[in-house]
């Protein structure tokens, strides 16, 4: 793992000089500038700003909310297992463009009687994953209730992702994919059918969320990770090595590609 860490700014700077010598100015402008931004040289270790994203899970009991998250969190070579609260609170960091997205995933109790407590959980969320069971029409109804509630009481600009879970059981399906897609489109939400059991579309679900998260304002995160606390918990902080294990590879590969193309 250590050998992979070529992402320190020193390396890139020396590359930059090389480019200068070959006077490929236009190329540098095109390639190097975004690269520099990506590295955020003020960050001594990784050069990446970390974006903390609170995500809350909503949906009926038994639709597999926590299974999806467990699959998402476990089905990856994350060697540093960050502390969790059982399957109720988990975290996972993924790269997204020039940033790292650290998902702080909050499970909620699906029982009807606890419904009224949900606002405490979804306040400050950047995204909500609302899960229904494709084999249970009722759960799709509940989903609609959640969407309605979020629209009315949820945080502004919350990213909503609809997950139709248990797509491995499509033979006993009660909710057609078309219904879900139409509904999602009507409310501007991401929708995917997932199978926590077979690890289908789990990554995609969260990638979809990542893509919808607006990037950090460089001015606001410049101050080495000062916390920006608005209505939403979308915080930045320095990515630590632990967060980056597994992420580096992707990034360093991108870097070397870029460097090569400069030569």
């Amino acid at each position: 793992m250590k050998g992979m860490k070529q992402t320190n700014p020193g390396t890139t700077e020396s590359k930059l000089e090389t480019v200068h010598v070959t006077s490929m100015d236009s190329l540098i402008k095109i390639i190097m500038l975004p690269l520099q931004t990506a590295l955020k040289i003020d960050n001594p270790r990784t050069g990446l700003a970390k974006h903390k994203l609170k995500v809350c899970l909503l949906g009926d009991t038994g639709v597999g909310k926590s299974s999806i998250v467990c699959r998402f969190v476990q089905d990856h070579f994350d060697h540093n297992i960050s502390p969790t609260i059982g399957a109720s609170f988990m975290t996972k960091t993924v790269p997204c463009g020039n940033e790292l997205h650290k998902f702080l995933i909050w499970d909620t109790a699906g029982q009807e009687r606890f419904h009224s407590l949900a606002p405490m959980y979804y306040r400050g969320s950047a995204a909500a994953v609302i899960v229904y069971d494709i084999t249970k029409q009722d759960s799709f109804h509940t989903l609609k209730k959640w969407v309605k509630e979020l629209k009315e009481h949820g945080p502004e600009n919350i990213v909503m992702a609809i997950a139709g879970n248990k797509c491995d059981l499509s033979d006993i399906r009660e909710v057609p994919l078309k219904d879900a897609k139409e509904y999602a489109e009507s409310i501007g939400a991401i929708v995917v059918e997932t199978s926590a059991k077979n690890a289908v579309n789990i990554e995609e679900l969260f990638q979809g969320i990542s893509r919808q998260i607006p990037p950090l304002d460089p001015h606001e995160n410049g101050n080495n990770g000062a916390i920006k606390l608005g209505k939403q918990t979308s915080q930045t902080e320095l990515a630590t090595d632990a967060d980056l294990d597994g992420v580096d590879i992707v990034l360093s590969n991108q870097l070397s590609e870029l460097a090569l193309s400069c030569m």
Partner: protein, 973 residues
């Protein structure tokens, strides 16, 4: 070592025994006897013919009597001298008649040299005193019969001695010359003795004795010279001066007539140096300066005219230049003056009086003396007793004014500077104001305590003699006792401050202008009512908001005794509102014309829980006076000696201070435990690592000596003054909570400031924070947990009051749930059956499993109960996490595998644990944690756990509400 030293001693003893008959000393001994015999006879004749008759002629006039007293004294000295001589002579003579053996021991003038010397010195000093006052002239003018009769006899005798024709001169000669001559004889005898002695200790002793007698000889001649010099001065000066200046013991040491020198241009026409004072004469007046307070400064600052040489004479209230044209003369004067000062300070003259010019040590520049100030100014007529340095009070001293004012303490360059205790009499009463504080160049500056004579005490900062900065004024007397904690400006309450009127049971928190409530203010009362108003010179103006204890709120105009007047809106807790005009005529009670709205909407929390003072008193503007002092302390470089004046005394108990007052000197017993500022700074540098920093800060903040500890102490006092007692009002929660967080921030800033300074002083560059935490984060994570215990009681009380209603409801819910046996409760809360820890329900014979209580999830319950034993939010969160772990491990045990609880399972279980833990003020706990935990926790694990706990808390309340509603429904049906 001791052997060698013992040897000569032994020898001496043996020697003196073995050689008693030293024939070589026989001859000097014989000569001694002969000389003494002649001398004795001479003295006998002087006694009979001169002293005895003169003693009988006591004059009648006052002056004559005084002089006669001196003569009688001289006679005593004469007799003492004569007796000594006689006595020793007789003993030796007796020895001679019985044996022919002599030894050096018999030479009493050697062995009893000190005695002889002292008697001779005394005789001549007394003689000189008599000469100075023209004693002999007075004596010869005696008009008594006895004297007249004797005169002729005396004349005959005197002509034998001297050719002087004047009787007074003859008397003068006859009373000193024989005695002086005798000293010479002694020296001759001793010289002979020395010649016959062999080398050895005896010879050394004799040599020393000769030297001493030689010194005596020159001493005598100097004494007589000075006496004559002085006498002729008195003769030449007018009565005007002699009446004031002439004292028998006073000697003239130098005279500008003799050795020309002049004091600063035209200051005087004559300079006289006496052995105790320096006198400047001009015309008919003179000025005298006590030599003990004269400093000679050779370094002339101003340029002297060419060809002039001089030096400065510094005295407490005047400094002048003595200058002369001859460098030699300047040197002599300077030397003489210095020697005279030194001898005056020693309290006795040297022996002999003068060494060689230019020899001898200079007088010390630091002295201890008493002086009464004469010149116009703040010290006029005041007596200063204490240490001096170059003409100025400097060091420790006491200054007493005629009016009873009194200052004890440190002085610097003539002014009060440093710690001092000052008593100032009050004009009307027989009482004193007692200031114990720090002074700076003559004025009070820095921390001090003033106990006014009227039982009011001020503890706080001063500047330019007036109260300025942060301070506490408290009236301790029984009637109208009050306490003000806050900002002072120009001796008056100005700025943000808290006033507690103990009689009215009221506390005002707000701004002041020149001792009046002015601007925005909050008043909280004993009964729990509180209101916010605008004040103008102590009067309430405009409308305000009145928050009543029963949750009703009045907005409008009202008086100080809380009666509504004029337009206003009263909102009741049940949602009714009454809007109209209120009047309150005496005897008729409250009257109103208006509209009562009974739309029955529950009052918004925003009103019933309104938080006061947030915009009016931003946290940065509260207690500025405390921070300012600390900041100034850092900016001034954290000097040890200024620490106390900036940061306050480390002892603040009245007992200790009274003690310091009793002893009336500034021993405040700090020496044994004092933290030297330099040590503090050194420690700061060494404890930069996170762990050692934490323990260092903990120690520092606990210490009453460390600046940070003192700062914390002052903040604690300010905090308690605002929020304890009457101030415990739920409408002040946010103010208090913000304040504590700000304290942490400030303390962290000041720590950084100290560290910066320490590094700078060591020549190191302060390193930038590498771990990326901002200083706010550090303040929260490092400082807040350390200081929170100081504010916790008051702060938690505010949280409890704020959440009182919710906590009550929740407690009722808990009571309801506590009736359920374990299984029933698990079932009630929808905990999935496979998670029930039925194995934990062990049964005794008479029990049924369904009835057992408080057995399930006991470990988690007990863990959660520890929440109330902690203060630090972080610790509370850790307890929460452990509680979860206990739940998880119990569940894992039940299902016999690692079980990761999803929220569907966790929330009911947590609900179960919370209801069993029965924490009374859970709402207060939760919100305290939420407000004070590190902001970085937001959205994270701890936030999640806390939210889960909060949702349980909410749910239990809702269950209770539902139950109540159901009850109502049932009752109605």
């Amino acid at each position: 070592m001791s052997k060698e030293e013992a040897a000569p001693g032994q020898w001496r003893r043996v020697g003196s025994q073995e050689k008693p008959k030293d024939m070589c000393t026989a001859e000097p001994t014989a000569s001694l006897l002969q000389v003494e015999e002649t001398f004795s006879a001479c003295l006998a004749r002087i006694d009979a013919l001169v002293l005895k008759p003169l003693l009988q002629a006591e004059p009648n006039d006052q002056k004559g009597k005084e002089i006669f007293k001196l003569f009688a004294f001289l006679n005593d000295r004469f007799q003492a001298l004569w007796n000594l001589t006689e006595e020793n002579y007789r003993i030796l003579k007796q020895k001679c008649s019985t044996s022919e053996a002599f030894c050096v021991q018999d030479f009493y003038i050697v062995w009893k040299g000190d005695l002889f010397l002292s008697l001779y010195i005394q005789y001549f000093v007394t003689f000189a005193n008599y000469v100075v006052v023209h004693g002999f002239e007075h004596a010869t003018k005696s008009k008594s019969e006895a004297w007249k009769h004797h005169k002729t006899v005396l004349k005959q005798f005197l002509t034998d001695f001297t050719s002087e024709t004047s009787i007074s001169l003859a008397l003068y000669t006859v009373l000193h010359k024989p005695i002086r001559d005798h000293i010479e004889q002694y020296i001759l005898l001793l010289t002979k003795l020395k010649e016959v002695l062999k080398e050895g200790s005896e010879k050394d002793v004799v040599t020393t004795a000769i030297k001493e007698y030689a010194k005596l000889e020159s001493f005598v001649s100097q004494v007589l010279d000075e006496a004559c010099f002085t006498e002729s001065l008195w003769k030449s000066l007018g009565y005007k001066f002699t009446d004031m200046l002439c004292v028998p013991e006073r000697r003239l040491l130098e005279d500008s007539k003799n050795l020309p020198i002049s004091a600063s241009t035209n200051r005087s026409d004559r300079v006289l140096l006496f052995d105790d004072v320096l006198v400047l004469i001009q015309g008919n007046s003179f000025q005298s300066f006590d030599l003990k307070l004269v400093w000679v400064d050779e370094n002339c600052k101003e340029k002297l005219a060419p060809g002039l040489y001089g030096f400065h004479v510094i005295t407490p209230e005047e400094t002048f230049l003595l200058s002369t044209k001859d460098p030699q003369m300047k040197a002599v004067w300077q030397w003489k003056l210095n020697q005279a000062v030194r001898q005056a300070l020693n309290g006795k003259r040297d022996f002999p009086l003068w060494g060689k010019t230019g020899e001898g040590t200079e007088p010390p520049s630091c002295r201890f003396f008493t002086y009464v100030f004469r010149l116009e100014g703040k010290f006029k007529s005041a007596t200063y007793e204490g240490e001096w340095h170059w003409g100025k009070p400097h060091g420790k001293g006491t200054l007493k004014w005629r009016n009873g004012r009194n200052h004890v303490g440190d002085f610097k360059d003539g002014l009060e500077h440093g710690f001092g205790i000052c008593l100032v009499p009050r004009r009307s009463e027989d009482r004193y104001d007692c200031y114990k504080c720090h002074w700076y160049e003559g004025k009070m500056r820095g921390y001090g305590i003033c106990e006014y004579g009227n039982d009011i005490v001020y503890k706080g900062y001063f500047r330019d003699n007036v109260r300025q900065g942060f301070g506490i004024l408290e009236n301790l007397s029984a009637d109208h006792s009050f306490k003000y904690t806050g900002q002072w400006e120009n001796d008056k309450k100005n700025g943000y401050g808290v006033w507690e009127d103990k009689d009215r049971g009221e506390r005002y928190i707000g701004t002041w202008l020149d001792d009046h409530k002015h601007g925005q203010g909050i008043v909280v009362t004993q009964s729990g009512v509180c209101y916010q108003r605008t004040f103008h010179a102590d009067k309430m103006v405009g409308s305000g908001i009145l928050l009543l204890e029963d949750d009703s709120v009045y907005e409008g105009n009202f008086t100080e005794d809380l009666t509504f007047v004029g337009k206003g809106k009263l909102s009741f807790a049940n949602g009714f509102t009454l809007e109209g005009t209120f009047t309150n005529k005496s005897g008729q009670g409250l009257q109103t014309y208006g509209i009562l709205n009974t739309s029955n909407e529950q009052l918004d929390d925003r009103i019933t829980k309104a938080q006061l003072g947030l915009e009016e008193f931003p946290v940065e503007k509260r207690w500025k006076g405390i921070y300012d002092q600390f900041l100034e302390f850092i900016h001034s470089g954290c000097k040890e000696e200024t620490e106390e004046s900036f940061m306050g005394f480390h002892i603040q108990t009245s007992k200790e201070l009274r003690k310091s007052q009793e002893y009336f000197f500034c021993q405040r017993g700090t020496e044994d435990v004092s933290w030297k500022t330099e040590d503090i700074l050194e420690e700061l540098v060494q404890n930069q690592g996170l762990e050692s920093l934490q323990s260092y800060l903990e120690k520092a903040l606990k210490s009453s000596l460390h600046p940070l500890g003192k700062l914390l102490k002052a903040l604690t006092i300010a905090f308690q003054a605002t929020y304890s007692g009457i101030g415990a009002n739920r409408h002040l929660l946010t103010m208090a909570q913000e304040e504590v967080k700000y304290y942490a921030k400030k303390i962290w800033d000041f720590y950084q400031g100290l560290l910066h300074l320490a590094l700078e002083q060591k020549g190191q560059l302060p390193t930038k924070c590498v771990d990326g935490d901002t200083s706010d984060q550090k303040a929260r994570s490092v400082v807040l947990p350390l200081i929170l215990p100081c504010f916790y009681p008051e702060l938690f009380m505010l949280y409890m009051l704020y959440h009182e209603r919710e906590d009550d409801l929740y407690c009722q819910g808990i009571v309801d749930l506590s009736l359920f046996p374990d299984i029933k409760l698990l079932e009630f809360l929808d905990v999935q059956k496979h998670l029930w820890p039925l194995k934990d329900l062990t049964l005794t014979t008479n029990q049924r499993r369904s009835l057992i209580k408080d057995k399930c999830f006991l470990s988690a319950t007990e863990c959660l109960q520890k929440l109330i034993t902690t203060v630090d939010p972080r610790e509370k969160l850790v307890i929460l996490q452990k509680t979860y772990e206990e739940i998880e491990s119990t569940v894992s045990r039940v299902v016999e595998k690692d079980y990761k609880l999803p929220m569907d399972d966790l929330l009911p279980l947590l609900m179960y644990v919370v209801s069993r833990a029965k924490i009374q003020h859970l709402g207060a706990e939760i919100h305290l944690i939420r407000d004070l935990m590190e902001p970085t926790n937001q959205g994270g694990l701890y936030d999640f756990l806390l939210t889960a706990l909060e949702s349980c808390y909410e749910h239990i309340q809702r269950m209770r509400l539902h139950q109540r509603e159901n009850c109502h429904v049932n009752h109605r049906s």
